[in-house]
């Protein structure tokens, strides 16, 4: 029996995942334990893979309400499918792919309800969060707050493709390339170069070069 504390889930030994890397076989073990009735293993899966699911949903710029519903749908469905997932060690990719498909369905239904162009559609995210609400309220934190705010602003203003990729990559713990590929419907081989390019672009923005 496992304890209730979550081991971090998953991740490839790809270079950028250094640090919090955990043997990715753990995900498969946790799935199997959960199938066998271990609620703590399930909790560990939720703790380890929630940020990935949330990142995928946010990468698609869903509104808060839609994002909540998609996140729930994905986890409810994962619970239903738990014993039928063919490759338990790829549960992260399963979740990422399901989150992507459900996010795309939401975008499609919005498009049908209100004939609108993508630009308008894409403007409707993150209505009611301000950095000031979330960041520790102390004077020492002010400079840090400003830096985080600036970073986030520049990130939000990246091109759609870079914004999506980075939103998924910044999940904690870092997702594997396989999960990122499932989350965005792109080839694993394209992630590395695209990641380099997007981070380069973000740095340029931060340095005021753009």
């Amino acid at each position: 029996m496992r304890t209730g504390t979550a081991p971090s889930a998953a991740y490839d030994d790809l270079p950028y995942t250094r640090g919090g890397a955990v043997d990715r076989a753990d995900v498969g073990v946790l799935v199997q334990s959960a199938v066998d009735g271990d609620a703590a293993a399930w909790k560990a899966l939720v703790e380890g893979l929630s940020p990935l699911v949330w990142s995928v949903v946010r990468a698609h710029r869903l509104s808060d309400a839609d994002a909540h519903e998609v996140y729930q749908t994905v986890w409810f469905r994962f619970a239903q499918h738990l014993g039928r997932i063919r490759e338990p060690q790829k549960a992260g990719a399963w979740l990422a792919s399901t989150a992507r498909h459900e996010s795309l369905k939401v975008l499609r239904s919005l498009r049908r309800l209100t004939p609108t162009d993508d630009a308008q559609l894409l403007d409707r995210a993150s209505e009611d969060r301000t950095p000031e609400q979330s960041v520790i309220d102390s004077e020492d934190a002010a400079a840090q707050t400003e830096r985080v705010r600036r970073l986030w602003q520049e990130f939000e203003e990246l091109g759609e493709r870079c914004r999506q990729l980075l939103r998924v990559l910044m999940a904690t713990p870092p997702p594997s390339y396989q999960e990122v590929a499932a989350a965005l419907g792109i080839a694993v081989g394209s992630i590395g170069p695209l990641r380099q390019r997007c981070l380069r672009r973000l740095r340029a923005r931060l340095e005021g070069a753009l």
Binding site: P15, Y16, A39, W42, K43, V46, E47, S50, P51, V53, W54, S55, H68, E69, Y71, Q72, T73, W75, F76, R77, F78, A79, Q80, H81, L82, R84, K105, R108, S109, R112, L113, T114, P115, R129, P131, S134, V135, V148, L151, W152, F155, G159, R161, L166, L169, M170, A171, T172, P174, S190, G192, P193, L194, R195, Q196, R197, L199, R200, L202, R203
Partner: protein, 166 residues
């Protein structure tokens, strides 16, 4: 910022890029911290995902979504409020469901009576219960809000549909 541009730059990774890897990783770490502050997984959502485990229906057979008009049907030009048509299947039992702004309409096939619970994403709320008539038809005048699943008891079988957001 177009595909061609992406590929051209993407193909140019060389020694200079390798040197930049530490910087790139540092920037990504900063983004990760920023996301944890500015756009974390809402705590109540995390809780509902944890609770989903206890709500698993181990006795029921899973009816998988085999048709979704949102994905599988071609929209009719000018029709913006077409109902969402869904088909779930488990073995020999098929459930057709139509979701509109007014409610929910469906049929169990082969035609048979059934008792149907509409499960929602709020476990605290008691599920709506519907009854399918001898022809398997059922209706509800409340459209599901948020994620939902149907739990059917029919002919000694217990079937639950995949969760879906209507």
């Amino acid at each position: 910022m177009n595909e061609t541009d992406d590929e051209r730059l993407g193909g140019e990774e060389g020694p200079a890029e390798d040197l930049a890897e530490d910087l790139a990783e540092g920037l990504l770490d900063e983004l990760r911290q920023a996301a944890a502050i500015l756009d974390p997984v809402p705590a109540e959502l995390r809780r509902s995902a944890v609770e989903a485990y206890a709500l698993r229906d181990l006795d029921a057979r899973l009816a998988e979504l085999t048709f979704d008009s949102l994905v599988d049907a071609i929209p009719v030009r000018g029709v913006t409020d077409a109902p969402r048509m869904l088909t779930f299947r488990s073995g020999d039992v098929t459930v057709d469901v139509e979701v509109t702004g007014q409610g929910l309409l469906g049929q169990v096939l082969p035609p048979q009576s059934a008792s149907i619970e509409v499960l929602s994403g709020r476990p605290a709320a008691s599920p709506t219960t519907l009854t399918a008539d001898d022809l398997g038809r059922f209706t509800s005048d409340a459209p599901p809000a948020g994620p939902f699943a149907l739990r059917l008891r029919t002919g000694g079988q217990l079937v639950v549909t995949e969760w879906l957001r209507a």
